[in-house]
């Protein structure tokens, strides 16, 4: 099986992650969708690295992981702060930008 198959898999995972962000109301679940999207991109990078025979793709995936970790830290902190203020993490609740 050529590594290109993994790229297709990455596309499928990416779209599932995107659907999660759009369709789920729980903030943490939506955030997990974002993580899934990042991972799909990582998979694509590694597959291309294998295809081209270099490790630059793996390095890039490594960097993405680091950034994703940092992002998770800050994002979850925000969710906690939001929860402390409103006692709920539903994404439908904060609608101050309406209008």
């Amino acid at each position: 099986m050529s590594p290109m198959a993994f790229v297709y898999l990455a596309a499928v995972l990416f779209s599932i992650g995107a659907a999660t962000v759009m369709l789920r109301r729980n903030a943490i679940i939506a955030f997990m969708g974002v993580e899934l999207m990042l991972n799909a991109a990582n998979l694509a990078f590694v597959a291309f690295a294998r295809l081209h025979g270099t490790i630059d793709g793996q390095i890039m995936a490594f960097f993405v992981m680091v950034i994703a970790a940092a992002e998770v830290v800050v994002g979850l902190a925000i969710i906690i702060a939001l929860f402390r203020a409103r006692q709920t993490i539903s994404l439908d609740e904060p609608a101050e930008l309406k209008g």
Partner: protein, 626 residues
Amino acid sequence: MIELSWLLIAAPLLSAAVLIGLGRRADRWGHWLGVAASTVALVVGAGALIETLGREAHERAQNVHLFTFIPGGELTVEAGLAVDPLSLTFVMLITFVGTLIHVYSVAYMEHDARRRVFFAYLNLFIAAMLLLVLADSYLLLFIGWEGVGLASYLLIGFWNHKPEYATAANKAFIVNRVGDMGLILAMALMFAHFGSLSFSEVNAGAAAASPATLTAIGLALLLAATGKSAQFPLQSWLGDAMAGPTPVSALIHAATMVTAGVYLIVRSAAIFDGAPDARLAVAIIGAITLLMGAIIGTAKDDIKKALAASTMSQIGYMMLAAGLGPIGYGFAIFHLLTHGFFKAGMFLGAGSVMHAMQDQVDMRRFGALRGLMVITWATFGLGWLAILGVPPFSGFWSKDKIIEAAFVGEGWQPWVLGGAALLGAGITAFYMSRLFFMTFHGRRRWTEGQHPHESPWLMTAPMIVLAVGSAFLGWFLATGDRFTTWLEPVTGHAEHHDPVLAVPVIVTLTLVLVVLGAALAWWMYIHHDVAEEAPAPSIPVLAARNDLFQDSVNRALFERPGRHLTRTLVYADAAVVDGAVNANAAGISKLGEALRKTSTGNVRSYALLMFLGVVIVTAIALLGVR
């Protein structure tokens, strides 16, 4: 002295500026400054006249260059004065009659608080009128044209605390404006075709231009002349202009401003030479107006309005003469000159009568003033005889020549024009005699408390001088064709043609009609008593009393459609233009409202929109690239 001819304009203008600028401080001596300014103009004009008389005929047309008006490279406009026999004739008329009327006004306006302002306006008028006749280009003439219009407005509405007088001033100005459109149009056409507005270049260009162009220019100039000279169809303002003080009526609306139209036609002789149709139009307008004025004059009981109708009629004669071509120019100006004297004299006489009768103007309340105001009666009488055309007074020399010239030509023209002039002479005799008899003869029909007396010498002296002119000026200028020869450098030499009727026949017919007219007036107004209240009118008299319904016609033909047009345009502007703009704004508002709906505040719909954008951009970027 010719080089100093700019003083003619500068002196009265400066005086006007001083009188307005100094304000009430100049109240005690301001009128004398006005008189002095006018006298200075008279002296300079006389000097220029003498100098010109001393030259040979071919040297008499001089140009005095003043300054460069608009230094614009290709479009450079020079300002200069044309000092030639035609303009000098007018200069003398304006300054001589003007100075006399200035002196008259010192006494006439004695009890008016704004006398100084009156003199400022009079001086302004003198300056503008002199600029008009001395200009060497149509542009400067136009400046003077507008200036006299302004002065006329200011003077007619001098007593503007009375709303009717202010309205009369507006009417005069507005009707004049319609005529001014004609002058502007003519100037535009001239500039387009000849590239310049100075008389010399226009005349040179007119020789080579097409008849269609010249006819268009000529008709536009005719429109301008009808506005300024109160000819049909723009004649409605002259009667109402009598709202101004009598010296104003004498100076502006008898002797000078209303003759500016005739001046314009004669000055533009070169244009009319190439446009015979326009020239015929001038003559026809003149004929119509002279009859119209005469008919209106027969039914007017207001002495000033009757004299105004008479002015309208006499200028009709001048226009008729000017429309006859080179043979008529000289006589038109001749009649203009003599008319200036006797009409101004009669207006001053009317002012004297009004002064005596405590500003009464209804002739039906005059009568038997002859014994109490002898000088007025005598001077007015001389003017009356002059306007009738009784020999040997001025009017006979000038008017008869016009009637003779009207009978020259072929086909229907001489009969119609000549017949109109002849008929007009008869009616003129009738209504002027009516005026004279009703005012000075018959029984006393005064209102309560009238004590008529002769006017002070400051008023009677000018009247006497003008009466002398009415009596002798015509004979003096006609002997040996002195006047027409004097004008020849400007008007050109006219071939002598014989009228279709023999000259003695014309003269006799004229005299017969005049005597008949005067006799009829005597019969109706001396032999029969004059009613103090105007009797119930028959239809022609009703029409004449209402100025031949000129105001109704104007209202129906112009004012009402104009008002409707304006209203429609305003509505269209508001509905269409403003509506389009407002609809535009409203549309954008609605668009904003619609777009506002995307701002739901909901995080997930934002995520959806963002993702939609990403998908679209990705699709375009990736699929669009081959």
